[in-house]
Structures are given as structure tokens and as C-alpha cells.
Symmetry: C2
């Protein structure tokens, strides 16, 4: 499928996207009275999310629609056309069927809306006829200079703006990750995940057919978005390769980008063709492009979000000296194996640090690295060891493992670690944590994430997250070296 590709990034569009994400006025064109229709649901989701801007439903056949929000029916005035709305419109969300989309787009152009998010499907993804219609619409909006997101998207979600302009169930758990996804179903599925695992997101955007605005322009928008400090992507295929690399190279010196590229296998590449019509391209080309652009590539969704969580909360790891602190030998060994696997093998604990830790751990504890304080470790020992490690000039990053025991409360360990982190975060060294205890540790683990410390249910994942922080650190070092 040949797209109407513009062979350069439109920097004015990057700025224009601000009106889409931080919209103060949203028009929903195709706002149905029928609660099962997407046009109805978008209005409902905006209201449920607590959007503070103005909502303008557009429906030529209705004077008002009633939307049920938390059990209450809320009536909203409807407009016959977007042109009838008295206010300026920042974001027009289009939900009408593809066959009648053209006059609606024309209205948006005449109204001079800030941006269009086209949820409507049935374009290039369904065949040549749809592609023709899509091209015509793209020609229209480009002439008018209005960015078009989509079509065939879930919508546009901005958590700080409390704007869920989509048919996804809710706003994500709030945080600093911007998520750009080429799969709408994954967005819908993953929003529940962000709440379950406290993976905080600022913004979620579904790129859909990316007929007009493409990855590169979204990436550059998030580079400048103060609400975002890490960009996570689910990618099936990039058509505009050079622009993609250019956008990433401009961004990665400032904010990390982590991406799960699906279709890296041969068969997977075929599957992306039938899903998004994307040319998945050879795995080697993507690998090279990602490396060049400093994009961290991961293989699975949990790696993507584990990594994004760490990148959004912690500074990069600026050297190779990693210290692992544990109360369980087994967990320590597992972390040691993982550290080697992920390219940050453990070295001996610095002598001075060993000496200081020896002062409070039992004689049969090990201070070598992993520092195994034994099952007798209290929350106070955790605090002391972690603080000493973070403050040691030879240490670049600290992983804390906690196996639930009868003598400690996970919540007290969590609070102790948080206090240490708050006192020492100015040092710019990353901390990742693993609490092993399932339901016994659930609250403490959630609490840590709510308080800005990435916590994982097993050592392997805490190490993998740290390795991602190190990968970003190495990229920045290389960059510095070459500049």
C-alpha cells in the first residue's frame, strides 16, 4: 500500500498537535443517542473521565443526547453541524460512517478546527476503494493545514487534560509515559493493565492508518510535552523510515524511547500485513534503525511497560557498577544470573561499602554482591544498606530485593525505601525494587509505584528494568563521547 507520504517532518504540525492533546473544546461528530454506538461512547468517556473543557456533540438528527454517567443521565445539547458551534474547536472527533465522512471533514475545514481525530474505520485497511477515499480526505485536510490523526483509531487520550476522547474504558493510571500504539485493541486492553500495575501514563494515542500524522510527528510532539518523560511505542510497521529515525534521534538525547516492534519474525511480518497493511520490513533493518536512533527495542508487552515504568520514574544508570541488596539468597542468585544475561554483570561490592554494611548485618550475611542481609533483615537494615549503596561514589545503580518474611512488614520496608530514595534521588542514580510475596506484598508494591519507585514481582524483572536504564545511560554516554 503506497501512502501519501510527505518526505519530511512537518514541524508546524508538531506544534499543531498541542491543540489536539490539550484541547479545551472537543466536538464529537456522530454523537449518537444510541449508547451502543461509538459516537455515544466517546461523549460518555469524556464525561466519565472528568474532562474540564467544553464538549460539543454533533448530530444532525437530534437536538440533544442523554448520556449516563455514574448512574446519572446527563442531557447535552446537540449541534446539527460542527459549523454551528459558537466556540472555536480544538479537537474534532469524527465517528460517522466512512461513506458520509467527506462532507463532515469539509465542515471541519470550514470551521477551522485545530485537529481531527478520525475514529471511523473502513479506509485503506479494507482495500483499494477505502484507500481512495482516505487519499481524498488527506488531500483535503493537508490543503487546509489541519492535522488528521487516524483514521481507524481508538481516539486520543491525555491524562493531565483529563481528556478521554476515545472509546477506551477509562483514562490510564496517571504518570509520565506517552504511549503511541499502532494497535487499537491493545490500547483498550492495556488501560486496565496500567491501573492494575500502576504504570503511569500521560498520553495515549492510537495512530491507526496514520494517513496523515505519522509516528515522527507524534514523537516530536511528546519530546516537547512537559507531561511526558518517556515515550513507549507499539509498532507494527514504519513507512516513513528516514523521518522516523530523524524524530527519534532528535528525541532520545532528551527523553528515552522504548518500543515493541511486532512482526520481527517472518511469519509475524505477514501477520502485520493482514492487520495494519504495514510493510513490516526486515528485522535487521529495524534493528539497525532503532540502534542508530537510540530507541530501546523490547520483545514483549510486559518488557515494554516494565521498561517504560523505570524510564519514566528513574534516571538512566550512568556506569556499570550495580549493587543488589537482598534478604533472600535465592532471590540474590536469580538477580545475579539475570544481571549477566541482560549485560550488567555484578562486580564485587566496593570495600568501604562492605565494611559499612558489616557493621549491622549478622556475621553469616554476605556483603560481596549480592549483599545478602539474610532473612533477619529489618526495614531499618534495608534503609541503611540502600542509602549507603546509593551514596557510595563507586556505585551506579541499586536493586533492592525483598522476600516476604514474618519479621518485617512489606509496607514498612516500602516506606523505608521511599524515604531513602527521597533523600538521595538528587544523586541521579537509579533504584529498582522487587517484592516477592504475591498478595502479601501487593499493597506495598503498589504504594512504591504510586510514590515513584518502580517495583516488580520478581528479581528478573527488576534487573531487566535496570538493564534498560543502563542501556539508555550507555546511549547517552556514546552520544556525549561523539559530540
Amino acid at each position: 500500500m503506497i501512502r501519501m507520504r510527505i518526505p519530511h517532518i512537518r514541524y508546524d504540525y508538531v506544534k499543531k498537535l498541542h491543540r489536539a492533546f490539550k484541547a479545551k473544546t472537543v466536538a464529537i461528530i456522530g454523537a449518537s443517542r444510541n449508547p451502543n454506538k461509538i459516537g455515544h461512547q466517546v461523549v460518555k468517556r469524556l464525561l466519565e473521565g472528568g474532562y474540564q473543557g467544553k464538549i460539543f456533540p454533533v448530530n444532525p438528527k437530534a437536538n440533544k443526547i442523554e448520556v449516563e454517567v455514574n448512574g446519572k443521565k446527563i442531557p447535552l445539547k446537540c449541534y446539527k453541524s460542527v459549523k454551528e458551534i459558537p466556540d472555536d474547536i480544538d479537537l474534532a472527533v469524527i465517528c460517522v460512517p466512512a461513506q458520509i465522512v467527506k462532507p463532515v471533514v469539509q465542515d471541519c475545514i470550514e470551521k477551522k478546527v485545530g485537529a481531527i481525530a478520525m475514529i471511523t474505520a473502513g479506509f485503506s485497511e479494507v482495500g483499494p476503494e477505502g484507500k481512495k477515499l482516505e487519499d481524498e480526505i488527506v488531500t483535503m485536510v493537508r490543503k487546509a493545514g489541519i492535522p488528521l490523526i487516524g483514521p481507524n483509531i481508538v481516539g486520543v487520550i491525555d491524562a493531565p487534560n483529563k481528556m478521554n476522547a476515545s472509546f477506551a474504558f477509562s483514562l490510564p493510571y496517571p504518570g509520565k509515559i506517552a504511549f503511541i500504539s499502532q494497535s487499537g485493541a491493545l490500547i483498550i486492553g492495556l488501560i486496565g493493565w496500567t491501573h492494575e500495575h500502576k504504570i503511569g501514563m500521560s498520553t495515549i494515542v492510537s495512530v491507526g492508518n496514520k494517513a496523515d500524522v505519522d509516528f515522527s510527528e507524534f514523537i516530536l510532539y511528546f519530546k516537547d510535552d512537559p507531561d511526558t518523560n518517556c515515550i513507549a511505542m507499539y509498532i507494527e510497521g514504519v513507512d516513513a523510515g528516514p523521518e522516523f529515525v530523524e524524530a527519534c534521534r532528535k528525541t532520545t538525547p532528551i527523553k528515552p524511547i522504548i518500543a515493541c516492534k511486532a512482526g520481527m519474525s517472518e511469519r509475524g511480518a505477514l501477520a502485520t500485513m493482514s492487520h495494519t497493511g504495514s510493510m513490516a520490513g526486515s528485522a535487521r533493518i529495524y534493528d539497525a534503525a532503532f540502534k542508530k536512533a537510540g530507541v530501546i527495542r523490547v520483545e514483549s508487552l510486559d518488557e515494554l511497560f516494565d521498561g517504560a515504568l523505570a524510564l519514566s520514574l528513574m534516571p538512566p544508570m550512568k556506569g556499570d557498577n550495580l549493587i543488589v541488596i537482598t534478604n533472600g539468597g535465592g532471590a540474590g542468585v536469580l538477580a545475579t544470573d539475570s544481571a549477566e544475561k541482560f549485560g550488567i554483570p555484578l562486580r564485587d561490592t566496593p570495600e568501604d561499602l562492605q565494611k559499612e554494611i558489616r557493621k549491622f548485618v549478622p556475621w553469616f550475611a554476605s556483603t560481596k554482591n549480592p549483599i545478602d542481609m539474610t532473612g533477619m533483615a529489618t526495614d531499618e537494615w534495608y534503609a541503611r544498606a540502600t542509602e549507603l549503596a546509593l551514596q557510595n561514589s563507586k556505585v551506579d545503580g541499586v536493586i533492592v530485593l525483598y522476600c516476604h518474611t514474618a519479621i518485617t512488614s512489606p509496607m514498612e520496608v516500602a516506606k523505608a525505601l521511599y524515604e531513602v530514595w527521597e533523600r538521595n534521588k538528587h544523586l541521579g542514580k537509579p533504584l529498582t525494587v522487587s517484592f516477592i510475596g504475591g498478595i502479601e506484598c501487593e499493597k506495598a508494591s503498589a504504594w512504591l509505584k504510586e510514590h515513584g519507585i518502580p517495583c516488580y514481582p520478581e528479581p528478573y524483572r527488576a534487573v531487566r528494568a535496570m538493564a534498560i536504564l543502563r542501556q539508555y545511560g550507555r546511549f547517552l554516554e556514546k552520544l556525549k563521547g561523539s559530540s
Copy 2:
């Protein structure tokens, strides 16, 4: 550290372990009145777990101890010595300090207890003096023919027997996995995990210093345990290599064994030395031994329990034809990549199956494999597609992916899948599932696992679990071919 290794498996001991796990009478020697002492906690945990056998606290300094169980204080008569107990004792749990352990063991021998679980620490793991004491005790119990589990263990847990003879917080979530762990802290941590993720376990045993009973004898006991259909192990080091391999080779044709071997990295091997004093040995030796014995080796705890869950609930996959059914293209692509990565690459859907599925999916759905029914898929479509796939003679295993959408209830999809599974499980083909939706899918996902279908939060893990089922299937085929 040279252990008092017996260079053969004691098959009479394998049988004797039955009295330990299925004990009808348990003596807790060192049952303290102090709730902070382990000897007190073991009594408490037994009561809390609802143990139906008889509990005999032994404490020479007390006539009775009071144990708080669910807010109620329960008084229990104490015995001065195990020898004073009128009943036969199946399992004696020893919690007294190492210095006074010898006369206590002597009492157990005179009482002819069925087995000893020695929680007490301070033996070979702390140095040569402890080692000497350990050896003396081992000599004593071996002469008497009483199996000794430990020392330095968390305890012995048997879920069907409702026996939590340990200081771990509770019985695990009930199921068919026997877990043998060389790390006590991991056991304590992981019990909460089994409840959180509904990973059903029959038995948990902490091998500790494995001064007497070793891996091999536990493995063979579980081979014959009707409550167990999969053995999961956390291993740091195996001393008795030939016996270990012999026990595994006898077991794997009947029940799968999955193991996480820690200390596979160089540094990790060092860490196991300081943790359990185990010679971790070279990674290559372990790899070869595991392969020879049909043991499935994994790298992390979540892989261990994801795999064990599938192995305990599903039959092995008996051929290479895997079908993936999805309602989200992205999830399908991810699964396709993972299938290739894990050695079970997707092939085209059989023609007849494609034709049958075409009858109810929309024209823009893909039936190629992954079968992408599109976001319009209902629970009924899921049921039909899954049933058709399971019943197709060219299909060997089915993975079902569900991305949460507005038009379906995850619970209804789960129930539909369960009904299909119940109707078709006699076919002996495995099914694994991924529900992507975080909190939105939590209930449905838990429900599936409660009803015997392994469900994971992301496609990658559902595929990895299926690949483990295929690995076991291949092992069985090879065995058949060579016999």
C-alpha cells in the same frame, strides 16, 4: 563442602516420605509460648491451615501453650518430650536451637517417628563446626532409618492434607504442582504469589541443606503422589548428580519436571556458594543433565510458574500445528513473533478450518493464522472458532487471545471457552489463553485458572507456556521413538 552422600537412591525412603507429607500426627519440638518464635508459628500455621490430624506441641518448660488463630486463643497441651506423646508420630518438626538438637533427635529415634523435618538452622551452611554437628545427626537418623528433611528449612507443606508444617504464612493456592525449593525465602514469598495468580500447588518442600533426603528422593516421591501431576523446582546446586538424573529419568515419562536452575552465570554460581554452599557447577553440565533427563529448564520464576501452571492443567502438545485465535491484530502479531522465538512457528490454518471459520467472521477478518476474528468477535465466535480448531485433526494446540472490547464481557468469553474445553478436553490437545485487559479482565482470568485453563496477561506468556507444553510433547515423542 563434602556431603555425606549415599551413592544410590534409597527407594525405601521414597516410600517413607509418604508419612511426612500425609502425616496424621505432627509433633512440633520446640513449640514456644512466645508468638515470635518459629516453634510457636509452626503450631499456629498448622491450626490456621485447618490441619485435620493431631498436633502435639513439645516443650519441656510448659504444660500448655496458647496460640491465637483468627482472633481466638486456642490452648494446647504440651509434652515434655516427644517420647511422652501417647500416639505414634508421623512427622516430627524440630525447631529447637542447633546446640540442643542432638538429644531431641535421639528422642525422635527412640519414639520411632515416621520422618523428621528440621527447621533449625546453624549447620553446614554456617561453617565446619555446624557441618560436623550436621554429620553426627545424619549418622544418627540414618542408622535408625528415619528420613530427615533439612536442616535449615521453612518446613513441609501439603495442601490436600491441609498441613502447613512450616513458618510460611499459609497453605498455597490448591492445585497439582509439587514445588521443591532450595530457597526458603522464595517459598515464603511465593505462597502469596500462588494465591495472587491462582497457581495451584499440591505440596511445597524446602530441601534446606539436604543433609539426608535429597532432590532425587523427593522427585520420586512426587512421581507416585496422586495429588501431583507436575514437579517444579528451584535449584541452586545438585551434589548427587547421577541420582538426580536417575530420579528425573524415571519421572519425566510419567510427569513433567520444570526447573529454574539459579547460578547458571559465573557470578551467580559464586552467589550460590555463599548462599547454600552449593557447587553450582558449570552451566553446560546442568544443561546436558537436564536435557538427558527430560527436565524443562527455565530462566526466571515467572517462567517457572507460568510453565508449571500449563503443565499441571494441560496435556502436552503432541505435534507442531499451533493455531492462534484473536480479536486483536496486534496481539496476534505479538503471538506470532513469540511462537517463532519459542520454537513453535505458526503455519497456515488448515484449508477446511479456514472455510468453516469464514462462515461466521466478517469478510475483512483473517483466517490465515493467527485467525483474527476482528474486534467484532463475540463470545459465541470465540467458542465456535476454538471448538473447530480443537476438533480439527490437523491441529495440535490452540492459543486464544482476547483483547478487551466494549461489545464483549470477558467473563462470558471465559465461560464460553470453558464449556468448549470441557466438551473437547478428551481430545488431549492443549489450550492456553491470554486476556489482555488488566483489571477489566482480572476476574475472568482468575475464573479461567480456577476452572483449569491456564490464562496469562499477555500473548508472549501464553505462547511461552504452550512452547513448554510442546517441549514436553517432543520429549515424550523422542522417548517413544527410542523405546
